[in-house]
């Protein structure tokens, strides 16, 4: 404790912490205010704000694309706005001579097929499928001639890269296909690699493909990404199994639960996930996930019923805002502390049961229970939460989270001063305690603390802050008049 304090002390004085404090001597705030003032005073001189916009860089520029979408979409005729855009545009063109560059991006690398826009890489893969959806778009037979040309794998890849049509179907043997794949990988163009992979996926046996890909990691990763993207879960799992990447198998399968909306089905699915080859840590967590949802389903059914029956006071007074299904564990614990606090450990919905089943830490438990009970203004429960009895039967207050946190939470829930001051009194750090006590007007705590500190001057100063004739004033007076106290000042 002491060491921490020293550290803290050092900390506050070390330079790195000044990083974000605003120096008093050079008060930033006053500077900001000053410039604000100046700005505001100028408004009197310069009157029209709207006028200003045209010069200023601020606001959404008239004629920007997102602005124009709104404009052109909302009116059916040529909108006035676009005229503005035009104006603006002509000025921008005027200021930027076109001769700045005579290049166009596409002209550098692409041997683009000028009239070949119909032809895509995919046409090249399965030219026969073409007629299925658009027979009128079939090219005359003569145009297919290109396909018959015997391109080497290397040439084929290069043609694909530059967006030209090139049939892959002529690569029959496994060896040729692999050569093609290797060339594609060497070209680094993900699009072409995919083209070849899809071709291989279609024309090779799964096992053969997997085996070859195992030797070609780059291509393998592209395929995995593709399968993830397209949601081809089955093939993806097969592939991971083949590669013996069991953790990936487990995670991929687990991921699927996100798509299941129905709680019961999701639960069953998670149950199936428990046996999957997760790492040992994850395995315990997935088990917890399942158990939690299982509990939530039971609690939800039960509470829905209770709420509908309108017999239970707590549900009548505080109707549930949402279902508890699929909520995180801590939220569930809060819920349980809110609606099921007094239940015995035996019931699934009791806080104690949740704490035990999921090995929730004391800290987490106390924080959550405190927040829930404070929200209900159940101050008696709050009191019980921190009261421990030792073996002699004496009671003592203890908080695993520190009493300053207790005070914060109580205060956030508008606890009355009588409740608050008991906990303010227990705050360990004297300075924090005094701050809290003054902020929340816990006079007794302030007075007692100054008394303990033997700080007569502060106590006298505080006397001016309390109401005339109040019990607090009387108390201060009696202390100040007590001759037994040896004041330090």
């Amino acid at each position: 404790m002491n060491r921490v304090k020293v550290d803290e002390e050092e900390y506050w004085h070390s330079s790195k912490c000044k990083a974000f404090t605003f120096d008093d001597e050079d008060d930033e705030l006053s500077q900001l205010k000053e410039s604000k003032r100046a700005v505001n005073s100028l408004r009197d001189i310069v009157d029209d704000d709207d006028d200003l916009e045209k010069f200023s860089w601020s606001g959404e520029p008239v004629g920007s694309i997102s602005w124009s979408i709104k404009e052109t979409a909302s009116t059916s005729n040529t909108p006035e706005g676009s005229d503005l855009g035009l104006q603006k545009g002509s000025s921008s063109i005027a200021s930027f001579p076109k001769q700045a560059s005579s290049y166009s991006l596409s002209s550098f690398f692409k041997g683009r097929n000028k009239h070949g826009s119909f032809q895509s890489l995919s046409d090249a893969l399965t030219d026969t499928g073409f007629k299925n959806y658009a027979p009128e778009l079939r090219r005359p037979k003569s145009e297919y001639k290109d396909y018959d040309s015997v391109w080497s794998p290397k040439e084929t890849v290069r043609r694909l890269q530059s967006g030209k049509v090139c049939s892959l179907e002529r690569f029959h043997s496994l060896q040729e296909k692999l050569l093609l794949l290797d060339e594609a990988v060497a070209g680094h163009d993900g699009n072409v690699i995919m083209a070849v992979l899809i071709f291989l996926k279609r024309t090779l046996k799964k096992e053969v493909l997997f085996h070859e890909l195992e030797l070609r990691q780059v291509a393998l990763r592209h395929l995995i990404h593709f399968l993830k993207d397209t949601g081809d879960q089955k093939l993806l799992l097969d592939l991971f199994r083949f590669l013996d990447r069991m953790e990936e198998v487990a995670l991929t399968q687990y991921r699927e639960h996100l798509a299941i909306q129905d709680a019961e089905k999701r639960k069953e699915f998670l149950k199936g996930c428990i046996g999957l080859p997760f790492s040992s840590e994850d395995s315990a967590l997935v088990q917890d996930h399942y158990t939690l949802l299982e509990r939530q389903i039971i609690i939800e059914a039960n509470d829905k019923h209770l709420e509908a029956a309108a017999q239970t006071e707590i549900f009548r007074k505080h109707p549930r805002k949402a279902s508890i299904l699929n909520m995180p564990l801590v939220t569930t614990l809060f819920y349980s502390c809110f609606y099921h606090y007094a239940e015995a450990e035996g019931t699934f919905s009791s806080p104690a049961n949740l704490k035990k089943t999921f090995k929730i830490s004391d800290k987490q438990y106390v924080l959550t229970a405190l927040a829930a009970r404070a929200k209900l203004r159940a101050w008696h429960d709050v009191d019980a939460l921190f009261t421990t009895k030792n073996w002699l039967g004496y009671t003592k207050k203890k908080a695993p989270i520190g009493f300053h946190r207790v005070v914060e939470i109580l205060q956030r829930n508008n606890a009355p001063v009588q409740v608050l001051q008991d906990y303010v009194r227990l705050v360990e750090d004297v300075e924090t305690k005094l701050n809290f006590a003054m902020k929340y007007k816990c006079h007794d705590v302030v007075i007692d603390t100054y008394k303990d500190l033997k700080d007569r001057l502060q106590l006298m100063a505080y006397r001016c802050k309390v109401d005339r004739g109040s019990p607090a004033e009387e108390k201060i007076d009696s202390i100040l008049n007590n001759p037994q106290i040896r004041w330090k000042n």
Partner: protein
């Protein structure tokens, strides 16, 4: 509108102009009136290339956002879809096309423009939906590197980091290499390439290979860049996790800057005129563009936030004085001169007003207790304090259910600063997180482990202290007002990535071989032959130009640090920055989190 792009050492207007030209070429291919249906994500990046006016000149009459259902009516000949190559978008397009009323509405031509690359997968998808044949033009628009500012380029590829480091899919690296080839075509071959990391190695390989393949087809251009430095994001995964403390960095951390625009809560921007008494508060967020075209912003964007206030107040005095001048203007000529300056002064005033408001908004947050506590813990981790045990602040944050991303940033930062967490500590954090936020986050935690951000300490050795000391990543004597070292951008922490760039320029990486070996991936150097006659003869005292390319994203604080190095008097090197994406810790974490809603197909 793009003057700021030519303000830097390298004129990036050329790149923008090339992009505009290609766009015009494509639009002209689809003869007649047109409507564009936009993948909403693209409107931001496109806005940096072209405004509506350019489209309008090429007969674009309507623009819509891509969404399922029937397309809104539009009396145009062509419907063009501008989309990223994503499967889910193909399904929406299919829905649009299939619900066209063929009988009642006149026949319209469909086209697709894929950005930045055509994709076989997507075309296959369209084919499966039976509509591939409906498109007359299917083309790609290689918007790889988009100019954001005079010294800044981004690919705005959200998923690049995830693809590279989680999926090991190098498609975005291919795009990066393509983008670099475009740059070289416009600005000349870059003679020296340095790199650190697996992805850097790949990109360099691809560039060299592409160069071989396209040799001959290139116009001889005098080289503008001297050096290219390729850096893997996972060589320095620490920097984005920490909270940026520059003005621009904080705007991004708090409000998120998208394609140079930021949306701010409107309250502080309400026009306060006398007698109106605060009625009609605007409810729409205030949208501002942030770039170096604005003089004041250019001055303060890269400063530590603590140094911003004094600049603003100085500015205020200058502007006030300028307006006071009007009292001294006696002759007609003087008055005329004053009036002629008014527009400029008004713009300056408006700019000052905006930034004063933004600074106030940010200050409300940076002075909050929680911001301070969070920063304190980050700085403890980065300076190597207590990284090997459970941190009580992190514990508290979990208990109070602070946003999960905040927790993950802190825990990952601790892990990185400790070369992995002790198994016991890691297990504890994992358990607390899953119990509080839901077990399904097992998947996200696994992703973070795979990406190396959150891991158990396997070697039993913590290399971080050595790295920190050798690279001087933690500076105790930081000066935020008048910095003399890049560490000012994080008020003490010098971003590792930028330190590597700095040390490369002087005295060279040979001095830090040992540390380089501790960081992931290979480091390397390549040279590219320049055509004869194009060798650069440097004028005496002329600075070198280095392009630093961050594979996996760059933060505004790192950009600020590089700009700081550019401006150092005896620095000798000026930097241009490129990245797959402009990121901050939050957007980065988000890209690694498992999407928890079911997939749309």
């Amino acid at each position: 509108m793009a003057a700021h792009l030519s303000s830097g050492r390298v004129n990036l207007t050329t790149l923008r102009e090339a992009g505009r030209r290609e766009l015009r070429e494509f639009l002209d291919k689809c003869a007649g009136s047109k409507a564009i249906v936009w993948d909403e994500y693209l409107t931001g990046p496109f806005g940096l290339i072209a405004q509506y006016s350019l489209l309008k000149e090429h007969e674009v009459e309507k623009m819509f956002t891509l969404k399922p259902g029937r397309l809104p009516p539009a009396d145009v000949k062509n419907i063009i879809f501008f989309v990223r190559p994503r499967l889910e978008l193909m399904d929406i397009i299919a829905d649009n096309v299939l619900s066209e009323d063929r009988i009642r509405s006149p026949q319209r031509d469909f086209h697709i423009l894929f950005v930045p690359r055509r994709s076989l997968l997507c075309e296959q998808r369209l084919k499966d939906q039976g509509i591939l044949g409906a498109f007359i033009h299917r083309e790609e628009y290689s918007l790889d590197l988009i100019p954001f500012d005079g010294d800044l380029l981004s690919m705005e590829s959200e998923s690049a980091f995830k693809e590279c480091y989680l999926e090991n899919d190098q498609t975005s690296l291919y795009h990066a290499a393509k983008g670099l080839m475009t740059l070289q075509a416009l600005y000349g071959t870059i003679p020296q390439i340095f790199g650190k990391g697996e992805c850097a190695r790949h990109v360099a390989n691809m560039m060299i290979r592409m160069k071989r393949e396209f040799s001959g087809s290139q116009n001889p251009v005098f080289p503008v860049f001297d050096t290219l430095l390729l850096l893997d994001r996972n060589v320095d995964s620490m920097t984005p996790l920490a909270t940026q403390l520059t003005y621009e960095g904080l705007i991004d951390e708090i409000y998120g800057i998208q394609n140079t625009y930021v949306k701010l809560p409107p309250e502080k921007f309400a026009p306060k005129k006398q007698g109106e008494g605060g009625k009609d508060l605007p409810t729409e967020p205030k949208k501002l563009q942030l770039n170096s075209a604005e003089e004041l912003y250019a001055e303060i964007r890269d400063k530590n936030f603590n140094a911003v206030g004094s600049v603003l107040s100085k500015r205020a005095k200058i502007i006030s004085a300028a307006f006071e001048e009007r009292h001294h203007a006696k002759t007609v000529g003087e008055i005329k001169q004053f009036v002629s300056q008014l527009p400029h002064m008004q713009a300056a005033r408006s700019s000052l007003a905006n930034h004063t408001s933004i600074a106030e908004l940010i200050k409300d947050i940076t002075t909050s207790e929680d911001f301070f506590d969070n920063l304190t813990v980050e700085q403890e981790f980065m300076s190597g304090v207590d990284t090997d045990k459970v941190n009580s602040y992190v514990e508290d944050c979990i208990a109070q259910k602070h946003p999960l991303i905040k927790i993950l940033r802190l825990v990952c930062l601790q892990s990185v600063c400790n070369s992995g967490l002790k198994q016991k500590v890691l297990d504890y954090y994992k358990r607390e997180i899953l119990q509080t936020y839901g077990y399904e986050h097992i998947l996200t935690l696994n992703n973070l482990e795979k990406a190396g951000l959150l891991k158990p300490q396997t070697s039993g050795r913590n290399n971080y202290p050595t790295i920190r000391k050798t690279l001087r990543l933690w500076m105790d004597d930081v000066n935020e007002q008048n910095p003399h070292d890049i560490s000012y951008v994080y008020s003490g922490y010098a971003p590792l990535s930028v330190r590597l760039a700095q040390l490369l320029a002087r005295p060279g990486w040979r001095s830090i071989e040992e540390v380089l070996k501790m960081l992931p991936g290979p480091h390397f150097e390549e040279r590219q032959q320049l055509p004869t006659g194009l060798q650069k003869k440097r004028q005496h005292g002329e600075n070198k130009v280095t392009l630093v390319f961050f594979l996996g994203g760059v933060t505004y604080a790192e950009i600020a640090a590089l700009r700081f190095l550019s401006q150092m008097e005896d620095g000798g090197t000026e930097y241009v920055i490129a990245a797959t994406k402009l990121i901050n810790g939050t957007s980065w974490m988000k890209s690694l989190m498992e999407k928890l809603e079911p997939p749309p197909f």
